[in-house]
């Protein structure tokens, strides 16, 4: 397989891979690294690529697993110290300013969701995949995907109305 053939396969979904990685890893740089890693893995296994039924779904699964692994290793490194036990009142003010844009709120709410719901929201509401495709990518059954999605959507709406009301009152 030549480079251009590979690129023609990968190009259509590389942004989706990146956005999924960013949803999970939050930081843009880390998401870029993860995407690069996933694409390089695909490239080094290019001789097998014809055997995959659905390269896109396969890559999304790969991305999901890669990012979750990364998150796990990060938790082991205990990098969460800033969020868990250190509170600075100035930071709260700064954050308020930062998040004044309500779109940032949505991002923040999604960030707080459990990983599975995060993945489902990303794949359905942003990447607009079929339920069946999502089920395949995440190795769940379609009903479970619907349930997770419905929960996530409700949580997003509830939290957002709350913050809106705080803003008004």
């Amino acid at each position: 397989m030549t480079q251009s053939e590979f690129l023609s396969i990968v190009m259509p979904f590389k942004d989706k891979v990146f956005r999924l990685a960013k949803r999970l890893l939050v930081s843009r740089e880390e998401a870029e690294d993860a995407t690069q890693e996933v694409l390089l893995k695909l490239w080094s296994n290019k001789s097998n690529i014809e055997n995959y039924k659905n390269v896109e779904a396969f890559s999304m699964t790969m991305t999901k697993n890669f990012c979750l692994d990364k998150l796990k290793s990060k938790q082991a490194q205990n990098l969460k110290i800033v969020h868990s036990n250190y509170k600075d009142h100035n930071v709260a003010l700064q954050k308020q300013v930062e998040l004044s844009d309500s779109m940032q709120w949505v991002a923040k709410i999604i960030e707080e969701l459990p990983e599975q719901q995060k993945l489902v929201v990303q794949l359905r509401d942003i990447e607009q995949y079929d339920y069946d495709e999502i089920a395949k990518m995440l190795d769940m059954n379609p009903t479970a995907v619907r349930v997770a999605l419905s929960r996530a959507r409700k949580v997003i709406r509830e939290k957002l109305t709350k913050t809106h009301n705080y803003g008004v009152k």
Binding site: T2, Q3, F6, L7, K14, D15, V17, F18, R19, K22, E32, T35, Q36, L39, L40, W43, S102, M103, W105, V106, A107, D125, I126, E127, Q128, D130, V145, R146, V147, L149, S150, R153, K154, I156, R157, L160, T161, H164
Partner: protein, 158 residues
């Protein structure tokens, strides 16, 4: 679009029952400038989804087409070189013996045989020298003489 319809769709949406087309309908509705005020917050949600769809991956991915050098083959090559070297350095046994060498060898062998034959003749002639040894043992009894002489000397000293 009728507001009722949208509200129905939103309920279905929250239960995870909408199809992709229906979700697209919702997205187009909420991308309008004015929406029903009690649904205002959905605008941000769908707006966020729309914005996020635009995000792209810009980093270059270095795809090296050159095959990476495989160190496995280096060891294979080293073993091959080693074996060839050992093969050429081994003392070769029969390959290099020519007819001329064989003749020279046989000649040398016959000369050496001749030398050893004449030597054997010489030693046979010297063989009677063994008789001397025999004579030597026969003369040994002369030692007995020394004993009486010693005794005589002792007597003299007293």
């Amino acid at each position: 679009m009728v507001l009722n319809n949208i509200e129905d769709l939103l309920e279905k949406y929250e239960n995870g029952e909408t199809t992709l087309q229906e979700e697209a309908q919702l997205k187009t509705y909420f991308s309008q400038d004015t929406v029903a005020p009690h649904l205002e917050h959905y605008k941000t949600i769908f707006g966020y989804f729309m914005v996020n769809q635009q995000e792209t991956f810009t980093k270059d991915v270095p795809l090296n087409t050159k095959k990476q050098f495989n160190f496995k083959w280096l060891s294979v090559a080293a073993v091959a070189v080693l074996m060839v070297g050992i093969y050429f350095n081994l003392p070769s046994k029969e390959d290099n013996i020519t007819e001329a060498d064989r003749i020279a060898y046989n000649q040398a062998k016959s000369y050496l045989e001749l030398v050893s034959k004449t030597l054997n003749k010489g030693t046979a002639q010297v063989n009677y020298l063994g008789a001397l040894n025999k004579a030597g043992t026969q003369v040994d009894y002369l030692k007995e003489m020394e004993n009486p002489i010693g005794r005589i000397l002792k007597i003299n000293n007293q």
